[in-house]
């Protein structure tokens, strides 16, 4: 088990170096950035605590991947496997729980810890070969695949919406809508194999436009029930809800075009930072989206002459 964690540290160092970051810089800056941003958000609104808990649990789902868990279960004895899963989840949870505890969110920290520990049992073998039906199967492929992977998050969003409406908490209800938006953005986080672009008989512009139209249409299908409930429950806040809809669509557009600026490679750290900047400071989107659209177009010329 120790060998496994030592290897993980070495692999993490390699990832950092591949991104052009010296490991010791990351060791110093990442905690500072994490706690600095976390405290800043929590000072601005209490609802940031829900967002922090949500993103922590979202990150934890990555450890429950089927292939990864099959590998660990094959190689390690049963007891060691569970110990590894528990330690990994614990290490992920720790900074988030400390942050919440520091700001006095005792109950949320406890719930997050319990849910995080329960997620040790997420090992990717629950649904087996069952094909989860989605309304997006006719138009491949990001939403159809994404929903099948992220349905627990969408359920969580629906739960948060119901809770928000029940206690007449507009911010929590609106946050539930943004959980859907961020989840959909995640569907475009990884590039598909080049073959899936090469097979199209489109110009790069037409390919991107089609991708964007499908993405927006699919997002609306997912988000409209949330927005309608918001409108119905908080009619006096319709202005904010419409702004939320506008922002959500633009966040997704940004994510789609950003993916193809790096295609077929993964998004670089600088791009991820710029996307985060666009989310936090929406006016930046006015510059970022057209710029990324142009860059994505020229990148796609490699596959779509």
């Amino acid at each position: 088990m120790q060998a496994y964690f030592r290897l993980q540290v070495r692999l993490l160092e390699r990832h950092l170096r591949a991104w052009g970051i010296t490991p010791w810089v990351a060791v110093v800056l990442v905690p500072l950035f994490f706690f600095g941003l976390g405290l800043l958000l929590l000072d601005r609104t209490d609802y940031a605590a829900y967002a922090i808990a949500f993103f922590c649990l979202l990150a934890l789902t990555q450890l429950g991947g089927r292939e990864r868990n099959f590998f660990l279960r094959i190689q390690f004895l049963r007891q060691t496997y569970w110990r590894i899963r528990l330690i990994e989840n614990g290490l992920y949870l720790l900074p988030f729980v400390l942050l919440l505890l520091f700001k006095g969110f005792w109950a949320l920290a406890l719930v997050q810890t319990l849910v995080g520990i329960a997620m040790v049992f997420l090992t990717g073998d629950g649904l087996g070969n069952w094909v989860i039906p989605t309304p997006f199967s006719r138009y491949p492929f990001e939403f159809a695949i994404g929903i099948r992977k992220s349905w627990p998050l969408l359920l969580l969003a629906a739960f948060l919406l119901v809770m928000g409406v029940r206690v007449s908490n507009f911010e929590l209800s609106l946050f539930a809508y943004f959980v859907v938006v961020f989840t959909a953005m995640g569907y475009y986080g990884k590039p598909e194999p080049g073959f899936f672009v090469w097979i199209h008989h489109f110009t790069p512009q037409a390919f991107l436009r089609r991708k964007l139209l499908l993405a927006i249409g699919n997002l609306l299908v997912l988000a409209i029930p949330f927005l309608l409930i918001l409108m119905f429950s908080f009619p006096e806040r319709y202005g904010i809800i419409l702004v939320g809809l506008f922002l959500g669509v633009n966040y997704l557009i940004l994510m789609v075009v950003a993916k193809y600026t790096a295609f077929p490679d993964d998004l670089a750290v600088t791009q991820a930072i710029l996307i985060a900047l666009g989310v936090v400071v929406p006016p930046v989107l006015l510059v970022l989206i057209p710029h990324y659209f142009r860059r994505a177009t020229s990148r796609l010329h490699l596959y779509l002459p």
Binding site: Y4, L7, R73, I74, Q75, L77, R78, D125, N129, W130
Partner: protein, 221 residues
Amino acid sequence: MIKLDKVVKQFGTQPVLRGISAEFLPGRIYGIIGENGAGKTTLFRCIADLIPYGGNISKPQRLGFLQTNNYFLPKMTGREYLRLLCQARKLPAENLDERNVFDLPLAEYAENYSTGMKKKLALLGVLLQQNELLILDEPYNGVDIQSNMLITAILLELKRLGKTVLISSHIFSTLSDTCDEIFLLREGNFAKHAQPEEFARLEREMVGKTVGDRVGRLSLR
């Protein structure tokens, strides 16, 4: 000894294994054949305890499982992979270069290996672990002919060492060269069970059933 007792598995409402019972003895190689989707991989995953199932399976606690598609941690070299697999079983990871019988580039990232090289690396890892039971799902798949010959020789050596080997393959000749018994998995059960003297007949039966008039139905002429 590995004993399967009425092993059942279903995905949703679709049954895949319908009460499989069998015994696998040490020092013998068992081939499992069947069409795509017959349930070979599901059966192997049940034996390896990777997925929940009904019925009983008694087996040694330490088994090696070569999957059809093997998982490699990102940015892990071939050597680190082998070392991790040895250390996971508390075995010394020594002389890896000497034991690298497939001449793999161990200093390179495993994720960048070709399909065949990944298969060989995973197989080498399973072999270094000194497991009593080895489950090899398509070990010949994507591997060059020289390595095929080497794998066959390794399997025969494992048999001499008294290991139990379960192996699946879509190339009948690779199984008939090595196996002591072959099981045909069909519709969730072992439909046939053949000893070496019956292998040729089993292959003829399979060709007859599988090919039949299907080529003609393609209307290629």
